[in-house]
């Protein structure tokens, strides 16, 4: 079976995020004074073949922690679902 996976990678809390802070500093100029605590990250989508969802999840988790995120400074969050019901 094929599953759709979404991995979100973000800097861990406490790790300075110069990209997020720079975006935040620019917001008042656009009139967004009410926005705070901007954190930048990135997301990855891929399809993964596995006999069942648990296996797909385990392999995707391994990919997320071994490559997509650097666990020294980043956390990752994973969503997996059957193809055709992709996470939004």
């Amino acid at each position: 079976m094929r599953f759709a996976a979404l991995v979100e990678v973000q800097l861990r809390p406490g790790i300075a995020d110069p990209e997020g802070s720079t975006i935040e500093r620019a917001l008042p100029a656009l009139g967004f004074d009410e926005v705070h605590r901007v954190r930048a990250g990135r997301s990855f989508r891929f399809e993964i073949e596995a006999p069942d969802e648990a296996r797909a999840r385990a392999r995707a988790e391994e990919l997320a922690t071994r490559l997509l995120a650097n666990p020294v400074i980043e956390d990752s969050r994973l969503e997996v679902c059957a193809l055709g019901a992709e996470p939004g």
Binding site: L11, A16, P18, E19, T22, L67, L68, N70, V72, I73
Partner: protein
């Protein structure tokens, strides 16, 4: 026989010839090592030079650590071989787990291309064995992701084990404790953001990097026996 230095070339590496030339000017024999080969070809020291290995895609060094040559570099390092990662090479070493911590984007998102003052903090590393502790060197930096971070425990460990090799005299990129270079537990694996090869001749504006590369060659020579 002069010591041999292997300079690893990934797709996107761009400082390999500078490092090779600087090493040769100090009397070493330099060989370029292709990232796709699973060997360090019997060299006495390995340098991972600067550049943009694998386009720096994902994160600097993140894909390079999976290049076939890295397994051989890891084995060479584990056997006590001198390994130095410069700039992008430092990023590769942290991603490969050969050095602790990580290099993230410079504070204020500033790309740095300038010469900075760097202090030698210890002589117990293959990069500083011939230098003097406390010496201040003028070395070029050229990076966007040079902001060294690690957790508190790692920082305490680095300090306690005398593994902080170089510090910026002034904060340049937000690095914790102004760290510019660190060593692994044995002192034989060193990563640094400044480029000693770009300070290897008076014509380049500084020859302060020669003492660092000279130290590496001494360590390499010691292995030749």
């Amino acid at each position: 026989m002069p010591p041999s230095v292997g300079v690893v070339v990934f797709p996107g590496t761009n400082c390999e010839h500078d490092v090779a030339r600087a090493a040769e000017s100090l009397g070493a024999a330099a060989t370029l090592l292709w990232h796709g080969d699973r060997t360090v070809a019997g060299v006495d020291a390995v340098v991972l030079p600067g550049g943009f290995a694998h386009g720096d895609y994902l994160r600097p060094g993140a894909l390079a650590r999976f290049s076939p040559v890295m397994e051989a570099v890891g084995e060479f390092a584990a056997a006590g071989g001198p390994v130095v990662g410069i700039c992008n090479g430092f990023q590769v070493l942290t991603e490969a787990g050969l050095l602790p911590g990580a290099l993230q984007k410079n504070e204020h998102l500033r790309f740095l291309c300038t010469t900075v003052a760097v202090r030698v903090e210890t002589t117990r590393s293959v990069l500083t064995g011939a230098a003097e502790a406390g010496a201040v060197l003028a070395l070029p930096v050229n990076h966007f992701d040079g902001n060294y971070v690690c957790d508190r425990r790692t920082l305490d460990e680095l300090a306690a084990e005398d593994r902080i090799v170089l510090r910026y005299v002034d904060d340049v990129n937000g690095s914790i404790d102004r760290i510019a270079g660190i060593a692994g537990p044995g002192g034989n694996v060193v990563g640094l953001m400044p480029h000693p090869e770009r300070a290897s001749d008076d014509l380049l504006g500084s020859s302060d990097g020669r003492v660092l590369l000279g130290s590496l060659l001494e360590a390499a020579t010691a292995r030749v026996g």
